[in-house]
């Protein structure tokens, strides 16, 4: 007879809410919110409250599976791992290390992602490692590193209540980061003003002092005009610009051409409202900017991010409490997966693989020769299959068959491999295509750390034993590494892995499991064992020294509406589901709230096509077509449609455009041209 509450971190979004897993006699029976937690303070969203439900779902993978004549058959761990180790070695010898690629997971712990990237670099011998951060905030990392020297959210979540004005653009905060939404609602009650700039009338619009609805893909145009107005009004922070930044004259020249009239023409935002908003933000003592996928998922993603950074520097809103550039990260550990090196161009702690000093440092630490050229990114890896450059892919806890742009192409690529291994907790659409499927333990079944959106590293404890024969991801990868004859994978616990990670990654340098505890953890950078962590970045000095203004010109999206495909399609998520639905669609309450997908369209567009609310329609793009129910709503602009990407039966990503931002390689998931048609009876 045993009952306990095990402190853990919610496995859904990047808020980093503290949960208590309720365990009765070794069985997971419920969740309670942690009451004294610094982020969620005793509350949770509907996903958090139900985050225990999928753990014991009957569909959990419980044994390794290998495909034989097109059918999966259960095999022993020994057989599966021996096969994988031999096959990986064979491909590596036959076509070279760079013919292999690994997708790490923003759902795995920091320790696991550290092991995954170490395995990729030190054992497979390639830097071809990436993960879904490429699809969400690659442009944030690239953009903010260029502007500030660090690619992370500058300030911490609880500081939002101290802001005077918050500019929220391309972030549906209440639905996607509900417990950050909770802080914003509190800020609102305390008098903070909100400017919401979004193509859709999202729930936050109700609380906006100024709402600017604009045409997707025109971010740089309105942001440049916004800055131009601030400069014209003399509201720029001259002292900050003079002391802390470089390149101001170039910025001033670049934005000078963007008059409110031009911005109105391009973006559709009425010039009077843009002027009013710019004056409001420019006059604030503490101005904070929140953004998310609406800014990042464009071929101009890096430009958009750097425009946001320009605005923050122009108004002196970096390096103080309640200010900053605050990209909200999607997955519970997407920040961490980036931090610990799950990217093709950096070792743990954002140390460039192309820098010979870093190469030497990691060669010494790991006792192997390493490659000094950056690897391929997510979409490039799949394109590499077409080009015959990639022969084997190892995917951990990702579902590109639903999450990546142009799914038909993804499927073609994944079917053309010599080896596809998928390690997951459920048989995802991607796992169906694999040669070998390995059952992983869920978050509740292992110990490790997750890094929330505000750089908060928190420890999650093991609540129950792994379901079936499933094993923790780090244990599986270490086992394969040892079978391939590698040294340096003899870990006995996650805590030991954290110690190694801390020794090679200065931003995590002071972290140990003991220090992290179970009540809010520590915010990086935390360089040594006595350091208390860092609430906000760039205090007194930017990470790179002086902040760099980037003069940026507006560029149209890759695909524009035309006669054939007259509408702009944008994609996103809902409050009640998460990403590819593998967990939320197996959670009764969530599945009941929203049963399948829909396409939001404006009544004007619906009327032109004689489409009524709820009617099944065909939506097509240059990549493919889907059938989906129409949801006719005034919450969206005429000429724009929106589809949530959670649902395999009407997958938005069949339609999306894989065109990439040349700087960060993020695909343009937020804008492509599409057509809606009635389905003939």
């Amino acid at each position: 007879m045993k009952y306990e509450s095990v402190p853990s971190i919610c496995p859904y979004c990047g808020c980093g809410c503290g949960i208590l897993l309720q365990v009765l006699d070794g069985e997971l029976v419920g969740v309670l919110p942690q009451k004294n937690h610094p982020i969620n303070r005793g509350a949770l969203c509907i996903k958090g409250w139900n985050s225990w439900q999928f753990v014991n779902n009957k569909d959990r993978l419980t044994t390794p599976l290998m495909k034989e004549n097109g059918e999966f058959k259960p095999v022993s761990w020994d057989e599966a791992l021996t096969f994988i180790a031999e096959k990986l070695s064979k491909i590596k010898q036959g076509s070279g290390p760079d013919s292999l690629a690994v997708l790490a997971s923003a759902k795995c712990t920091n320790e696991e992602n550290y092991i995954i990237q170490k395995f990729t670099r030190a054992v497979l011998g390639t830097n071809n490692i990436d993960h879904c951060a490429r699809l969400c905030h690659a442009s944030t990392v690239t953009g903010l590193v260029g502007s500030f020297g660090s690619g992370a959210m500058t300030n911490s979540v609880p500081e939002f209540v101290e802001s005077d004005v918050i500019l929220i653009t391309g972030s549906n905060t209440i639905e996607q980061h509900p417990l950050i939404g909770s802080w914003l609602l509190e800020a609102k009650e305390k008098g903070t003003k909100f400017i919401v700039v979004d193509p859709r009338e999202i729930p936050m619009v109700k609380f906006a002092d100024i709402y600017l609805q604009f045409k997707p893909g025109t971010d740089v145009a309105w942001l440049n005009a916004f800055m131009n107005i601030i400069i014209q009004e003399g509201l720029e922070d001259k002292k900050f610009i003079g002391e802390r930044t470089e390149g101001y004259e170039e910025l001033k020249n670049a934005v000078g051409n963007y008059t409110p009239e031009l911005a109105e023409k391009i973006s559709g935002i009425p010039k009077e409202k843009l002027i009013e908003a710019a004056k409001m933000f420019g006059s604030a003592d503490k101005g904070s900017i929140i953004y998310s996928m609406g800014i990042t998922q464009h071929i101009t993603g890096t430009d958009n991010v750097q425009s946001v950074a320009n605005l923050a520097m122009l108004t002196g809103n970096v390096g103080r409490r309640g200010t900053g550039v605050n990209p909200l990260r999607g997955q519970n550990n997407v920040q961490g997966a980036c931090d610990v090196g799950g990217l093709p161009n950096v070792y743990p702690g954002y140390q460039a693989v192309t820098d010979p000093n870093n190469k030497k440092k990691f060669e010494d630490a790991w006792g192997v020769q390493l490659d000094d050229k950056a690897g391929l990114t997510v979409v490039e890896i799949l394109n590499g299959v077409d080009e015959g450059k990639i022969n084997g892919i190892f995917i951990i806890g990702e579902n590109p068959m639903l999450s990546d742009p142009d799914i038909n192409h993804v499927k073609e690529a994944l079917q053309n491999l010599d080896l596809l291994v998928v390690q997951d907790i459920f048989m995802s659409e991607t796992a169906e295509l694999a040669d070998v499927v390995l059952p992983a333990a869920s978050y509740a079944e292992k110990e490790g750390t997750f890094t929330g959106t505000d750089r908060r590293v928190q420890k999650s404890s093991k609540a129950i034993e792994p379901v079936g024969e499933s094993r923790a991801d780090w244990e599986i990868i270490c086992d394969i590494a040892r079978r391939m004859g590698a040294k340096g994978f003899e870990f006995e616990s996650s805590s030991q892995i954290m110690d190694e990670l801390a020794s090679v990654s200065p931003i995590y340098g002071g972290l140990t499991f003991e220090r992290l505890g179970s009540n809010g953890g520590l915010l990086w950078p935390c360089p040594d064992k006595t350091h208390e962590g860092t609430e906000f970045l760039h205090s007194g000095k930017f990470t790179k020294g002086k902040g760099s203004f980037m003069p940026i010109e507006f560029i149209e999206p890759n695909e524009l509406p035309d006669d054939e495909y007259p509408l702009i399609l944008s994609t996103g998520r809902l409050m009640f589901h998460y990403h590819t639905g593998t967990m939320t669609r197996r959670t009764p309450v969530l599945a009941n709230e929203v049963k399948t997908g829909f396409v939001e369209m404006h009544p004007d567009d619906a009327e032109k096509l004689s489409i009524s609310d709820g009617e099944m329609v065909k939506v097509s793009s240059r990549r493919g077509e889907i059938e989906i129910a129409a949801q006719v709503t005034e919450k969206i602009r005429p000429g724009v449609i929106f589809i949530p990407f959670h649902f395999a039966e009407c997958a938005a990503n069949v339609l999306t455009n894989p065109a990439l931002d040349p700087k960060s390689k993020i695909p343009e998931l937020k804008v492509c041209s599409a057509r809606v048609e009635k389905i003939p009876v």
């Binding site: 509450s5 309720q22 009451k35 005793g42 509350a43 958090g48 209440i174 809010g520 929203v594």
Partner: protein, 260 residues
């Protein structure tokens, strides 16, 4: 107070009055409900912040109906257990209460009328709070103002169901708030007035004023104020006092029985 608590619990174990004790545990900075056995080190046992311990006790008792369980309770927890007993969710015969009197600060935080259990083992009884400024403020509004006030509050709702999940006396296996017939599914904020008024109605004969719903609300909706105002009507109309007598039948149950 924690030391005193541990001593009282130690005594219960020593006298074999209970097999286990449900209380709170401080673990690496995190406080959470926990079940202690006789052999366990009690030095991690603490009494604050309060958690909806009734939910935990009911869950444990369903699996172990015959085990003598000690439960560390405050005034509201005792009222919760009484309401749960009325609805066959706990068996008070197998529960030994360890009563904690709330501090003045606790009482003010909750605007609690009865911040102490029937029998106090730990702490000193403080006077209850009988005034509620929020209710007074709302009562002075005219109907249009009141409507606007509540609509403004409900507009913030994120439909997390936290008010349901955190409520120790919300016990229905199938919650009708999840049914599309009553509250259109998938909408944010949830449909007005059904979501909030159905829940308020359901709370009228079982809400013990423990504040768990309001504390679990990410939108900071003053749910306790709403429930208090509605509950007052039920108290006046039916003379029913929630959480005092296990033999007193709830009016929602008796009225339904009378109507057959």
């Amino acid at each position: 107070m924690n030391e005193q608590l541990r001593e009282v619990v130690k005594g219960l174990f020593a006298r074999d009055e209970v097999e286990v004790v449900v209380s709170l545990k401080l673990n690496e900075g995190c406080v959470a409900p926990h079940m202690y056995s006789k052999e366990d080190d009690l030095s991690s046992m603490v009494h604050s912040p309060k958690y909806p311990i009734g939910i935990v006790v009911s869950m444990i008792q369903k699996k172990y109906p015959d085990t003598k369980i000690g439960v560390v309770i405050r005034g509201c927890d005792e009222r919760i257990l009484i309401e749960l007993a009325k609805r066959n969710q706990v068996n008070l015969d197998n529960i030994v209460l360890v009563g904690i009197a709330c501090t003045e600060e606790d009482a003010k935080d909750c605007l609690c009328e009865t911040p102490f259990p029937t029998k106090i083992d730990i702490g000193e009884k403080v006077e209850g709070i009988t005034t509620d400024e929020n209710i007074e403020k709302i009562s002075q509004m005219d109907m249009d103002e009141r409507f606007d006030y509540w609509m403004g509050q409900f507009d913030k709702c994120m439909k997390c169901y936290g008010c349901v999940y955190a409520c120790p006396t919300c016990i229905c296996e199938n919650c009708i708030l999840e049914e599309d017939m009553w509250v259109k599914t998938g909408e944010l904020p949830p449909e007005f007035p059904s979501f909030h008024l159905i829940r308020a109605y359901h709370s009228t004969d079982r809400c013990v004023d423990c504040h768990e719903c309001e504390r679990a609300c990410p939108a900071h909706i003053p749910l306790v104020t709403l429930y208090r105002m509605i509950r007052k009507d039920v108290e006046d109309m039916f003379g029913y006092k929630i959480g005092t007598d296990v033999n007193e039948k709830p009016p929602l149950v008796t009225v339904l029985e009378e109507e057959g």
